[in-house]
């Protein structure tokens, strides 16, 4: 399982990229995106997915 970023709601602030413990988030073509191969949903790492917890636009959601 992995998370994804709803590009239409993303403000491109980059808060998620800084919090991701797996370096799964990067900035591509004007928007942030999650690499599903690297995303763990933070299971075993934190109590909640870090990107979704910090996102001001609530646009990090289960893929």
């Amino acid at each position: 399982m992995a998370y994804k970023i709803k590009a239409s709601d993303c403000t491109a602030c980059g808060a998620c990229e800084a919090e991701c413990p797996n370096n799964a988030i990067s900035f591509k073509k004007g928007a942030y995106a999650i690499n599903a191969d690297l995303c763990t949903e933070c299971k075993g790492q934190f109590s909640s997915p870090q990107c979704a917890s910090v996102c001001p636009a609530d646009c990090c959601v289960p893929a």
Partner: protein, 518 residues
Amino acid sequence: MANVISLDSILGVGELKAPAEAPPAAAAGCASSSCGSSDGPADMSPEVWEKVKNHPCYSEEAHHYFARMHVAVAPACNIQCNYCNRKYDCSNESRPGVVSEKLTPDQALRKILAVAKEIPQLSVIGIAGPGDSLAAGGRNTFKTFEMLAKKAPDLKLCLSTNGLALPDHVDTIANYNIDHVTITINMVDPEVGQHIYPWIFHDHKRWTGLDAAKILHERQMLGLEMLTSRGILVKVNSVMIPGINDEHLMDVNKAVKSRGAFLHNIMPLISDPAHGTHFGLTGQRGPTAQELKVLQDQCEGGAKLMRHCRQCRADAVGLLGEDRGSEFTIDRIEAMGEVEYDQEAARTYREHVEGERSGRHAAKAAAQADVVETVGTEVQPILIAVATKGGERINEHFGHAKEFQIYEVGPKGAKFVGHRRVDQYCEGGSGDEDALGSVLSAINDCTAVFVAKIGGCPSQNLKDAGIEPVDRFAFEYIEESALTYFKDYAERLGQGAINAREGQDAVIRTGAFTALRA
């Protein structure tokens, strides 16, 4: 030297002259503690004055002479505030948290060098978002300052934060010689805070309600104490939200003063449904001009108050009250190619201001002593609106003013107490009646308006509204003119020729507007 000659428009008269002689030490300018300036060299230690004298946000006096620039390198934030909507991003909007272009640290450096070349008044580079400068590890913020310190070491660095991540970064801030930090503190009681902050992100977790407000409060107080104990000057910003934290801000003022804050800036809530903020959508109103002034006056005696804040955008450029950001877009800066940093123009300008200032303090003190002698101390102070382009002079046409500076003048002297943003009355050569209405409501609590020039029609409308238009002090200094006017006013009042203007309030202009240069 074209950029130096353009200073004439700021100074209003004459040409830029080098000071005639070496200026005396700044502290000697005003020996009296009652000199009327709210933050002159007499009110603080020489070391602190040296730090703030050229910083337009930390010194009211400096804001007449020096320009600041915010670079928008920090879009990420770690809390949500009910007065902020991070999705909203509009170039016609002037308020904190809003920018037109986000910059990388490299782009920010190029922009700073380009602006410094064009605007020798530039003395301060700040990072204020558009999110929080210390969120996301503060990486872009510190990268920018690191490069800047090498390229342009004479520019002052400052940053602004909500304080949540602050305790983690105090050592880095000290290492980078950032000696001005602004913390936004809207409460010192989590019961109040829970109505302002729906959530925070801290220690890898999203916190809500009282827990969120309690953590934020503790981190803010800790960060403030850590900074002041290292001798870093801290300004505290508070948003005044009527019915939520308005009276509580007196407690905030005491709490931050006791922890060593240098300056407290109480700002009116900017709230409009069109902004899509929680407060905008729930119809939470901002304060009126008099509500704000009364609260600020009640806090006098505590932490020193800042009253000249323009609540500028996180990408603002220029003197406070103007925004030249649109002249320095990424595209235009890329087109400039390599820009070398040249300190010469800035140094010449700073020397000129030093010379100008040393004479100013003595002149203000003399004018005030004259008022006390002739008027006595019985007459109530009045408010005067001033059209100015800077340099402490009355040098703007009524119709071209994008804001009016408000001075309170009375037997205790003339003091800057605020400013009012307005729509320009005169655009493209003819006056606009709707805009005149907005000007009248913005300065409705004033007895007079000082201008360099004014047309016959708006002049009559002002008189009809009970506000006296005054152009006889055109291009003179504001404070001396205000005191001269007050002497005359007191005499007319004594003769029964006029009545005092009391019990009036004014509207604080918010909503879509950018103070673009005409």
